[in-house]
Every structure is written in C-alpha cells, then in structure tokens.
C-alpha cells in the first residue's frame, strides 16, 4: 500500500476514525494501531508479516530479559541473540544470494566452477528498517540508555507503526515509545499540520521524483556510445533530485500521517544538497540512519577515540556497511566506500586548513557557495554508483564523462530537469531554514504556502497517473 494511492486514501481515514474514537482507552487505541500497522504491512505480502512479528517477538523478549538481569555475561548473550537474529533475517532474505553468487564468482576466477546455491526469495519490504529499529532498541537497552518496554502490544505497535514501518525514519525507543504510550490529545493544529506536511511530501513524490524518473531511467538504460558527458551529468543531477523527492517526500508523508495520530516522528532530511562538505551532508541526508550507524556501529567500533588509522578504519567500515545496508550489490558497497574515503579526505583537509590558519570573514560566503556546489557534484557522482544496475553500467556512465558534446537533446533534458528540480531546491531551503517539521510562526505560513502550491501543481501536472513505488522500499 503506497501513500499516494487510493488504497491508502481509504485506509488512513478508517484507522484515524477508529483511533480517535477509542483514544480514551489506551489498550484499545494501541491495539487498533497495531492491527492497522500489520494490515498495512500484510497488504504487500501477508507471508512476510511473520518476519515482522518474529523480529518484534525476539527483541521484545531480549529487551525484557535484559531488564531483568545485571549479569554481564547473560546481558552480552541476550544482545548477541538480538544481533544474530536480526542480522540473520537480513542475511537470509537480503544478502545470502549476493554473497553466494560473489563467492562462486570468486572461485570461478581461480578456475573452480561452482554453481552458487541461491535462495532466490523476494526481499520483504521494509526489512532493513524494522530490523534496525528493533535491534537498535535492544542495543540501547543493553547499554542502559533506555528502559525495556514491558507491554508487548505497545512494543509491537512501536516496531510496526505504519507511517514509518517500511521506509523509516528509523525511530528511537526513547522518542517514539513515550508518544505511543501517552500520545498528544486531539488538536486541530496537529491535524492541519499533518495534512499540510503530507501534501508537501506528496508533491515531492509526484511532481519531482516521478516526473524526473523517466529521464533518469533512460540515462541509466543507455548502451556504450549513446551518451555524452552532458547526458551523464544531467542524468545524475536528475537522479539526485528524484531520490531526494522520493525519499524526503515519503518521509514527509510519514511525518504528516503520524501527526494525524498525535505522534511526531524524527526528521530525516535537513536540506542535504545545501551541505558544504560530506560531513555536513551526512548530517542532513537520511539522518535517522546516519545517527543509527554512528551510535550502534561507529562509536562501538571506537569512533574517533583511537589513532587516526583506527578512526579511518572505523569510518570506512561504517560507511561501507552503510552502503551495503541499502542493497546487496557491489555498487552499494562502492557507494559507501566512496563516501567513506571522501569523509576521510575531508577530515584531512580540515586538519591541514586548521594548521595553516582560517581564512578571513569575507571569504565565508564565497567559500560556502563553492563548497555547496562541489559537494553537490561529488554527491551526484556517487549517486551514479547508487543508481547503476551493476558495476558495468556504472562504468559506462563514468566512461561517457570523457565524451564531450552538448546539443538540443541535452538542452531539452536540462530544461526538463529545471522544470521539476527547482521545487526540490526550495523545499530543501525550507528544511534547512526551518528544521524539525516546520512548526509555528513563520514556518506555518511557509508550510501553508508550500502545501497549497504543492497540491495545485500536483493536480495541474496530472502527476497522480503514475504510481511508481518509492525507491527506498527496495531497501
């Protein structure tokens, strides 16, 4: 069930009515949210509901058991059980075939022809998101950052909360659980804000992402000799705005939907393409994942506390695994590695600049603008790895950067890109200036204006005809 479909337009009001009708009865209210969320998930494939329930049960058990013991060995075992269970699920359903095929290919290179034994199972939608959410919660309980949730229904509703179930934001227990336990009472202001944010998210999906998608698809379906450098650059810029519109749009629809139930979700985007360096980019792009990786991978590995080589290792490992989280393919591994190397280079450069002394205040804005432009272009180059079907396709794109040429075809593509991407720039400007869900004061006026424009533009473009699934659903 996609947010921008008629099915969801029917589903949401029914759940909303049932939820607020039973608001005074916490047990019933939570049961309704849980049932609605499981129904939402089962709408894709009812068989995979068992995985969601299994992951929830495992981490509920581990969390409660962790809360009842101070024995460090037992606590370590329980945390390990959660890690093994969740990564086992991911490994089986997401990564097994990739590693089996890669291993067979490696053996073939040394002359051993082995047919890989693959499972060829469908990837359960949202598995990377909910396993990370439940695993993160158990690890937080293990580190005594949060208390375990004793109520299994509430815990299950927290894991499966439908607005953010299949593509995040990856919520933290300390933020979402209290809101589900004691939600804000009904307020028209929340309802209005929720609808407005949902509308802005919808426009990002149908006006920006879905309208740029065909241009991107064509660029990445090209064969050798069919592209010039300008085609590749325009295609990568278009993908940058497509994936932003798709994912930020999804996130805003999730945030807006959650607000209709009195729940505020975490921000995931803060104007990422206005970042002036890679470190800032990762503070603005998919924030809930980058903070999860930081807290549950980078910091436990040692973070920046050891030697510079250890820090580099930790950073690179975190980014490579972050890349692999997105998909079981070498393109994602390389994408993560490229970002890791870029972050390392940036750290080194910052260190050198600190030693030679800072530049004058007059240089602040010119340097910031240059930084934004360079960062955006480098992010776009890495998006090529992210979007390409395989390494050969990525190599074709990078190879075409050596073919000069610009004609009416490229000019027309550029025009098409500008026609839809500028709205993405404006929305990122708003995210940058008014983070945390556009609340109050000037932000509400901005939100109203954006939402009115978004709705009118979406209707004028007839963009609802295309019901492309969200890109991040495949992760």
């Amino acid at each position: 069930m996609l947010f921008h479909t008629i099915e969801f337009a029917i589903f949401l009001p029914i759940v909303w009515l049932a939820y607020w009708a039973t608001f005074r009865s916490p047990r019933v209210r939570t049961c309704i949210l849980l049932l609605a969320s499981w129904t939402f998930y089962a709408a894709w494939d009812v068989r995979f509901l068992s995985l969601l329930v299994g992951s929830t049960a495992l981490d509920y058990f581990c969390g409660v058991a962790l809360g009842s013991t101070d024995d460090p060995v037992r606590r370590r075992r329980l945390a390990a059980l959660s890690v093994a269970g969740n990564l086992g699920l991911l490994g089986t359903f997401k990564y097994y075939d990739f590693f089996a095929s890669s291993f067979a290919a490696m053996l073939a290179r040394v002359g051993l022809d082995v047919a890989p034994w693959t499972l060829e199972v469908l990837l359960p939608v949202g598995i990377s998101f909910y396993t990370f959410q439940t695993l993160g919660t158990t690890l937080d309980v293990y580190r005594r950052r949060v208390q375990p949730e004793p109520d299994p229904i509430l815990y299950a509703a927290y894991v499966a909360f439908f607005p953010q179930l299949v593509a995040g934001p990856i919520e933290r227990a300390e933020r979402l659980l209290p809101q589900l336990r004691s939600p804000r009472p009904f307020a028209w202001r929340d309802q209005l804000d929720g609808l407005l944010i949902f509308a802005v998210g919808l426009a990002q999906k149908v006006v920006i992402a879905d309208r740029l998608a065909p241009l991107v698809d064509q660029t990445f379906a090209a064969r050798p000799g069919e592209l010039v450098a300008a085609d590749v650059l325009i295609g990568s810029w278009a993908f940058a705005f497509q994936i932003f519109g798709d994912f930020s749009g999804y996130t805003d629809m999730a945030i807006g939907s959650a607000m209709l139930f009195g729940v505020r979700l975490t921000d995931n985007f803060r104007g990422p393409y206005l970042a002036a360096n890679p470190q800032e980019f990762w503070r603005r792009w998919h924030v809930s994942l980058s903070s999860w990786l930081r807290d549950h991978l980078y910091v436990p590995l040692g973070g920046g506390r050891g030697s510079k080589w250890l820090t580099a290792r930790n950073l690179l490992l975190t980014m490579v695994l972050g890349g692999l989280w997105h998909g079981a393919a070498w393109t994602f591994v390389l994408w993560g590695a490229a970002h890791g190397l870029w972050l390392l280079l940036h750290r080194a450069l910052v260190g050198v600049l600190a030693r030679v002394g800072g530049m004058g205040a007059a240089w602040r804005w010119p340097l910031r603008i240059l930084g934004v432009a360079v960062t955006f272009q480098l992010v776009c180059f890495t998006w090529i790895l992210f979007r390409a079907e395989d390494l050969a396709a990525a190599s074709l794109q990078f190879g075409a950067l050596g073919n000069p040429g610009f004609g009416p075809d490229q000019w027309a593509k550029l025009q098409w890109l500008f026609r839809f991407a500028w709205l993405g720039v404006v929305i990122q400007g708003v995210q940058y200036r008014w983070p945390e869900q556009l609340r109050g004061g000037a932000a509400r006026g901005v939100l109203v204006v954006l939402a009115v424009y978004a709705i009118s533009r979406s209707l004028a473009d007839g963009a609802f005809a295309d019901d492309r699934p969200f890109i991040y659903f495949q992760f």
Binding site: A221, R223, G304, G407, V430, G445
Partner: protein, 369 residues
Amino acid sequence: MTDRSSTSSSDPSSDPSSGRGPLLTALGLAVALLALDRATQLDPPFEEFEEFGEDLQPFARTTYHIDPAVVPGVSGVARFFRNAQGLRGRIVSGAADDVLLVGGSTVACTLLDEADALGAAIEHAVVQPRRLAALGRGGYPLGRLLPLIDKVLSTPTLRPGAIVVMLGANEVELLMNHLPWTDGPAWDPDGPYGPASWATTFAGWYRANGDGRFLVRPRQAYATGPKRDQLTPPQRQVVETATAEFTAQLTAVVRTAVDRGTRVVLVTQPIAFDATTGAASPGWAPFFHAEPGQGVLPTPRLMHELVERFNAATRAVAASEGATLVDLAHTLSSCGPCFYDQWHFTVLGASRGGAAIAGALDDDDGPAR
C-alpha cells in the same frame, strides 16, 4: 560520520522558527514559488507533442524482452525511448539538419531497439550528418497525423529541414477494420467492426515488457480462418474514396512543407508479399478486429493489392508535386527476412530501408525537388 549529539534526542515540542515577520516570509515564498513556476513553464526551448496523446509522453521508456521464436530478426532486448518531445530519436528544433520521420508503427519500429530503429539506421547511413526523429504512431493513418504534421510545419522552432513520410499500412489497417469483412449481418457502424470501436482496434497489442506473443493469435487466425481474395463492388467504392482522400491529404502536406522550406521525401510502404511468386512471409500477422473464426480476412495477395493502391497514390503525389520518392515497396519487394510480420521491419529491413532513405537524403540537399 563523526561523534556528535544524537539527532533523535531533540525536543519534539521545541519551536525553531524565529517568528519574525511570519506573514512577510510566507508572502515572499509565495511570490518566489509563482515566479519560479512561471519561469520554468513559459517558453520552453523545445516544443512538445504530449497534447496529442499519452503515447507521446516525454522520456517514456519501454523495454521489450522479445521471444525470438515469435519475432525473428530483432534484438532480444529492445529499448524504446521517447525524448523530451515524446518523439523517438533526436529533438526537432527547427534546424536544417533535422529530419522528421512521419508514419505509423512501421516508422516507429516499436519492437526494434534504439540502435536498430529506422531513424538510427538512416543516421548511420547518411554521408552528411543529420539528426533523425521519428513521429511514428502505431495505428495512425495520415488523417489522424495531420494535426501533428501541421504543428511541426507551422512552428518555426520545430520545422525540420526535411520530413520523410511513409504511409499506407495504417490506411489499409483502417479499411480492414471498417469494411464489412464479416459474412454475418449487415455492417453496423456502431458494432465491433465500425468506426465507433476503432480506437480500441489497436489498443493492447503492444505491452511493456511484451515478448511479441501478441502476434500469435493473428497468425493462428490467418492460418485457419476463412479468407477473401476479392473486394466486393461496394468495398471497392470505399477503397476508391479512401485513396482519393489520402491523395488529397498527402498533396496538401507536400505543398505546405515545400511552401515553408521543408524538403519532403515520400516513401512507399513495403510489404512482406512477393507479388512475382505469390508468397507471403511466414510471420504474416495483420492485426484485425475479429476473433479467430469470426471474420473473413483478406488474403496476402489482396492485402498487397490494397497497400499498392496507397503506394500508387504516394508515387503519383511525388511525381506531381516534385517530391523525392523512395520506392521501398519495390526495393524490398522480395526481402522476406526484412519483416517479422507483414510489414514491420526486422533489423535487416530497417537497415536496408534506412540506407535507401539516407541515399535519397544525401542525393539532394535542396529544400524540395
């Protein structure tokens, strides 16, 4: 990624806005949105055709995974791209080296890959570089293409240096579906064979990721169903009227193009029927409205006769108006492998047809002959 305070711990009830001049801020954004919207919508540097139909949607992409047993002579994976204008191939931008191919699916080359289509074959074969775009609409006879041709020729930012027009197949297709081929009751214009249902005649044949199996049923029907080798006198009268109308329309197109400085190359529609031996291609599969066993179909010989009537009209218009003629019907008359059905090109057919058209384009660089 660096150590920093957790983003998830921020206070959800905090209000980060400055609150200064909220009305002015919102107003400023509204003005900026409208200005940017207008700036990117007005006067695009290229014209579009989407207004003429959803099939001309910009940047549409279809990939066919074709079963070679059903559609021989084409690439196994065929990509069909539409550009920013909804055309196949290059943008037409009013440049002298722009060449626009006009016609139906035989021009669009639906089941051929981008690299194998007729436009690509012409671009590959011409000596003097040209930019080829194809305005090929499956099932469209000349009458339904006229508004598009008119837009192309009347818009300076579109008008190409040359247009290449290959017609006839859909005119015959239209006749097949409009004439009372059935032996049942009298022809009902509102019935399944009448003009009222014409729009659905071709709908659904081509599907995204199709493998070409839509050809199987027409082929089966052709192999087993009853066929007719002669037109009845009333049918002859309809055909005469149709060819006269076609001639008038084509003449008007050529005159308009020449008046506006666009060169016209007229191409006859080849068909996979060898008139000397009477043999039809084994892939012969004209689309028709009837289900197997319901209708009476024209034999390949009669189909050839019908196509030739329109080809004769094309030759006559070329001669009378001084347009360049490429007689592909003659050039490919005995090339069975050039077609995967009765008239759609294989890679070989597009290559040979493209070479012939390229030769004509290179022969004379003048606006019209």
